[in-house]
Amino acid sequence: MTASASAARFVDSLQAAGFDFFTGVPCSLVQSVIAELEQRGLYFGETREDAALGVAAGAYMAGRLPVVIMQNSGLGVSLNALGSLHLLYDMPCLLLVTWRGFDRNDAPEHLIMGEVMPRLLDLFDIPHQAPLADDVDAAIAWAAHTLGERRKPVCLAVRPGLFA
């Protein structure tokens, strides 16, 4: 997969907002974003989503502002790390979570998480937005401001088709 213009602009905006450490586990919906990050030598791929959150926590304490990329299936894997590490210790990060199962239109393994994801984020008190293409820059600005103010994780959910 090659990077795309929309992915390049997205990564530009993340870097301009101060994000400087990128880790995670891939999803096809963000393959162009990961390809762009890899081209820039910025991506640290992890083996599991909660391990990526652990790395992000360490990077934050080392002075970096992390982004953790994952499919929403990985959000389930991540709940204990979010609850007993990031939210507990006031460690911010941007969760870039792909919304598989969006609109109940996906493979069966994604339907339940796709349905409950917004409520799951609400339950964990993690602010979230799912921007359309025209709103991406505003959503990044909102995310950077909100996580700086709260010192907690903030989530941008990636709808299918957001990145070419």
Partner: protein, 189 residues
């Protein structure tokens, strides 16, 4: 050698290294032996002390990071052995205190008696690997092990006991720990 004796042997060798401690009795024992601004106690998120240490080591390559892990924690997050080995941070030392049990939850046996975790780390590709079984060996080798080019994995075989918690609960709040680690690592407040 029990965990407290092992930690007391190691403590005099520690200076401004960042120390990341896994949850449960590991953190409590270490907190009881030595506390410093550069010590992080992970009270939840079992399995992730090694990942946190990896993130610190990558974020601050000039600073030495020592992870105080346990066999239950390493077994829970074994993918990270592979990730640490392939990322190969030269500033990371990974200590695993192996008592063959989940000591914090009633000493249920782990499978570390059947799986030599230092051999897993060696196969994954850690630059340097050691297994320590006695206090005499720990005393003579720890100074060298802590300063080797990383990633270094050291399995320290310890015995269970004595009964009860090996140290007090952590008195720092989680946020205080985040803040002091950021200070220790030179991050802006």
């Amino acid at each position: 050698m029990m965990v407290r004796e092992a930690l007391e042997i190691i403590a005099p060798h520690l200076g401004d290294e960042v120390c990341v401690h896994s949850n449960g009795y590991m953190s409590r024992a270490a907190f009881g032996v030595r506390d410093a601004e550069s010590c992080f106690y992970m009270i939840g998120s079992m399995g992730l002390a090694s990942s946190i240490g990896l993130g610190m080591a990558l974020g601050q390559p000039g600073r030495r990071v020592v992870v105080f892990d346990g066999d239950g924690n390493v077994l829970m997050n074994m993918g990270t052995l592979a990730r640490i080995a392939t990322a190969a941070p030269e500033n990371l030392v990974h200590l695993c205190f192996d008592n063959g049990a989940h000591a914090s939850t009633g000493a249920q046996a782990t499978i570390s008696g059947d799986v030599q975790l230092e051999e897993v780390a060696r196969a994954a590709g850690y630059r340097s690997v050691a297994r320590i079984e006695t206090s005499a060996a720990l005393t003579s080798e720890i100074g060298d092990l802590l300063t080797r080019r990383g990633p270094v994995f050291v399995l320290v075989r310890i015995e269970l006991g004595p009964d009860g918690p090996p140290g007090p609960r952590i008195t720092h709040t989680p946020r205080e720990m985040t803040d002091r680690l950021r200070r220790a690592l030179g991050a802006s407040p």
